[in-house]
């Protein structure tokens, strides 16, 4: 089982300091919730789409949009009935289906959800998970929780392999057909027992590597130098200002 959302590359987004990138995520989210004209969140979402298409490639832009398409459809269908004030735009006999306020709210929610999705996509598509965990450690997350994250990430592929082995073993015993509902329980039980039986040996491995001792820890992986972080932080702050200030200047 090989799973990683990160796509390696050498673009400006890849070189961006991971800590500054994570800090930038906050204003990227907030800007979609600030009051202002409707074209503002639309232009932010458009700008994010251009950033993804320009730096990561047009195909990459389709990935998040395809994933959220059903939710966007739900927003288009189910938002207007909850906002019936304003000038009626679409009517079926005496029933008002769409009003000017409903249309405005639908566009706003559409752009907001698309923007949030694209912002998190652009950050995490270009952020190596090891750098992500190191950044969380830099932000003050306790070492034991970071260790949990790292061990979990290392353990997922081996557990995926265990899943396949156990499933194949069960199939060999019960025939080639997919396991039916009654076949799930033995399968899940075997996988869980196989997984939890590994806990004591994993704990011993952690202890033998010095986990729990008071001595200072060293690390193979390190984040980029502090001066590089400061440089990217200045860029992140400038982008934040560009995102936040217009909504105050153009407040409705």
């Amino acid at each position: 089982m090989t799973v990683d959302f990160f796509r390696p590359g050498h673009s400006f987004l890849h070189r961006f300091d991971p800590r500054a990138k994570l800090l930038l995520l906050m204003p990227l989210f907030v800007c979609f919730f600030l009051p202002g004209p409707l074209w503002l969140p639309a232009s932010y979402a458009g700008a994010l789409a251009l950033v993804i298409a320009g730096w990561l490639g047009p195909r990459e832009l389709a990935v998040p949009l395809r994933a959220i398409a059903p939710i966007l459809l739900l927003i288009c269908l189910l938002t207007p009935p909850f906002h019936l004030r304003g000038r009626p735009l679409v009517r079926l006999f005496s029933l008002t289906l769409l009003t000017s306020e409903g249309l405005e709210e639908t566009i706003l929610l559409f752009m907001r959800f698309t923007g949030i999705t694209l912002a998190s996509f652009v950050v995490f598509r270009t952020l190596d998970l090891n750098d992500f965990v190191l950044s969380l450690r830099w932000f003050g997350l306790p070492f034991s929780l970071c260790l949990v994250l790292i061990v979990t990430l290392r353990y997922i592929p081996s557990l995926g392999a265990t899943w396949r082995n156990v499933r194949d073993a069960h199939r060999l015993r019960s025939g080639p057909s997919q396991p039916k509902a009654r076949g799930w329980m033995p399968l899940f039980t075997s996988i869980l027992i196989e997984a939890i039986k590994g806990i004591p040996s994993l704990a011993m491995a952690l202890e033998s590597r010095g986990f729990g001792r008071k001595t200072p820890r060293t690390s193979y992986a390190v984040l980029p130098a502090a001066n590089r972080f400061v440089a990217y932080l200045v860029i992140a702050l400038a982008v934040s200002a560009v995102l936040i200030v217009p909504s105050f200047l153009l407040r409705r």
Binding site: V3, V63, L78, F124, V148, T152, Y155, I156, A195, A203
Partner: protein
């Protein structure tokens, strides 16, 4: 906590949480067909319910939260990761806390599961309608699916916890 229970080292706690978080992530990746609607539901809630009943509220909270958040991060839905971290973490904590009152009672386990379902469906509804900016209508439309998925998790998780505890008794001592 009974006095005859062996003291778990910090390394053992980290190991148990990490393994169960990996289990939750892998279970979240597994999609089972849901015949009536031809849709799919994931099994992340099965792992959370199992963990809460077998290994206790703290392990369930951390591993449930981290496991589902990592599944979102790795699976291409990073915008949901913070919400999954909190909502599924709370779900595991609540089920574990309720079950702690009477561990061997199936009624208490079912009650814990029921509260867990409410926490999960309510948490996602609140987050989707506010933080995610989806609005009330689409967030309401997601509630039935979340309830079905969470209920399936509890229905499968309770017998699974019983089966694993019987087949591998040492796990009863690892409750945290």
């Amino acid at each position: 906590m009974s006095s005859d229970r062996p003291v778990m080292s910090p390394a053992f706690r980290v190991a148990s949480v990490a393994v169960l978080a990996a289990v939750t992530t892998v279970f979240t990746y597994i999609k089972l067909p849901f015949a009536p609607t031809r849709g799919y539901f994931n099994l992340g809630d099965v792992a959370i319910a199992f963990c809460a009943i077998t290994l206790g509220p703290v392990t369930a909270m951390i591993s449930g939260g981290i496991g589902t958040a990592l599944a979102d991060l790795l699976g291409g839905y990073p915008q949901w990761a913070p919400i999954s971290l909190v909502v599924h973490g709370l779900e595991g904590l609540v089920i574990g806390l309720v079950v702690t009152t009477r561990r061997d009672s199936v009624t208490v386990q079912a009650l814990g599961g029921l509260i867990g379902i409410l926490v999960m469906a309510g948490g996602y509804f609140a987050a989707e309608s506010t933080i995610m900016g989806m609005g009330l209508g689409p967030a309401l439309a997601e509630v039935p699916g979340n309830i079905v998925q969470s209920a399936a998790g509890v229905i499968l998780g309770i017998p699974l916890a019983f089966a694993v505890s019987r087949a591998y008794p040492p796990v009863r001592q690892w409750r945290w």
